[in-house]
């Protein structure tokens, strides 16, 4: 917890230095501790050494993302195997997480057999509660009908599949920003969902910790590649009064972090394949081919811990190598 991020968090873009620093951290595993909007980090290796000193948490959950079951190309010809490794890591945790959050792109092509394979694999996880939001790969042919019928059984979903729930005093909000996208546009929440969000948080005290999860980042990571959500500002406006807001996204297959006021934005690694750093010259936002021995260091999962009474949520990324 010795390194503070000192770059300007109000700045909307990602400055090259800050970005490269983030990327150097990605894949190595980090503990993020958020206190009063200041972010501190330490590597997983340091955590392992100081394991006994880690504070006990009241709630811990895990984010997995972008499993892309069905993908079988050069960047990772066996995405079921790497997904299994991720599940093994979860099963090996000394204290199992209370639940999992999957931030979308369960499948590659929205095929029923891909969803079936995912469901078979996820059965092996000791943690049984999983909360989902769809990725654009899960809603390709039917606008998400199949996804909604299968993955929203335990929640009180509204509209095209958004919902909220409470755990240990933390208010969780799952948003859908991959449907009804417009030509030339970005991810989109839409008026119905935004109105619901405004009403959903209305009765909550400002000291309620908020965790928002959605597939496409709710901040402008790199709009030229569609890595952003056109109406996310309005959503964040409804959350401005809260003292602690953690936004968890997937979609970009790499760890990026940004703090803006009381809001911490965080994107997770994929369990299937990495993608290029935003705006990499000559690249496109597709699978990034890396040497086989390097692949698992660029895949991973994210653990989040919350201790009641403290205003901080600790976010830890760990890779699969």
């Amino acid at each position: 917890m010795s390194d503070y991020i000192s770059h300007d968090h109000e700045h909307d873009g990602i400055d090259r230095r800050g970005f490269l620093t983030c990327m150097a951290w990605a894949g190595t595993g980090l503990l993020w501790t958020i206190k009063g909007g200041v972010l501190a980090s330490t590597t997983l290796a340091q955590i392992a050494k100081a394991a006994g000193k880690m504070p006990a948490s009241d709630l811990s959950f895990l984010q997995i993302s972008d499993s892309h079951i069905g993908f079988n190309k050069e960047a990772n010809k066996d995405v079921t195997e790497t997904f299994k490794i991720a599940l093994d890591r979860i099963n090996a945790m000394p204290t199992p997480p209370s639940f999992l959050i999957h931030t979308g792109d369960i499948t590659q092509l929205s095929k029923p057999e891909e969803f079936d394979t995912f469901d078979q694999l996820v059965k092996s996880c000791r943690t049984k509660d999983v909360f989902y939001v769809p990725g654009e790969h899960d809603v390709i042919n039917d606008g998400g009908k199949f996804y909604r019928e299968r993955y929203l059984k335990t929640v009180d979903a509204k509209g095209s599949g958004w919902y909220s729930f409470n755990k240990n005093g933390v208010h969780f909000i799952g948003l859908v920003n991959v449907l009804d996208l417009q030509a030339g546009g970005l991810g989109q929440l839409g008026d119905d969902q935004l109105e619901w969000l405004e009403a959903d948080v209305k009765g909550l005290g400002s000291d309620t910790p908020i965790v928002v999860f959605a597939h496409i980042p709710l901040w402008a990571v790199y709009p030229q590649w569609g890595w952003g959500t056109s109406d996310s500002e309005r959503a964040l406006g409804y959350l401005k009064r809260f003292g602690s807001v953690t936004v968890l996204n997937g979609h970009i297959h790499q760890v990026l972090q940004k703090v803006e006021g009381n809001v911490t934005f965080h994107t997770a690694m994929s369990t299937a394949f990495p993608q290029p750093a935003p705006g990499t010259a000559g690249a496109s936002p597709g699978p990034l081919k890396v040497p086989a021995e390097k692949l698992r260091s660029m895949l991973g999962l994210t653990s989040v811990q919350y201790k009641q009474g403290s205003s901080s949520l600790a976010v830890v990324d760990s890779n699969l190598s």
Binding site: G159, G184, S284, G286
Partner: protein, 120 residues
């Protein structure tokens, strides 16, 4: 389930529009009868190439996906039937209908857009 009624209605509406659109842009069966010229649009590096294509009414237009990512071909305003998710090397074809300008995009990556100009 009441929450999904709006979606269902929309799906019916889309279906209706698509059916009407068949008279404008027919979903291609085997070989197109008129014209005979094949207009290929390659999807590569998250771009439709050529991005703008001019064809004659009755000609066949074929997209082929050369990316590892799946893409779709979706008409703005639903003026012709949308493709399903195209995996690597999969194709989708339509036959150009009434003259006019048709915009389309990939619903998975909506930044990807293209234009078809149909001439008489």
């Amino acid at each position: 389930m009441t929450t999904f009624i709006r979606k269902t209605k929309m799906a019916v509406l889309i279906w209706g529009i698509s059916t009407v659109a068949l008279s404008v842009f027919a979903d291609d069966g085997a070989n197109s009868s008129a014209g005979g010229k094949s207009n290929k649009i390659e999807i590569k590096d998250f771009m439709f190439n050529p991005q703008k294509i001019t064809v004659k009414s009755g000609e066949k237009i074929t997209w082929i996906n050369r990316d590892e990512e799946p893409h779709t071909v979706v008409s703005v305003g639903k003026k012709f039937p949308k493709s399903s998710g195209l995996d690597t090397d999969q194709e989708y074809s339509i036959t150009a209908g009434a003259p006019g300008t048709y915009e389309y995009f990939c619903s998975v990556h909506p930044k990807m857009t293209g234009t078809i100009v149909v001439e008489k």
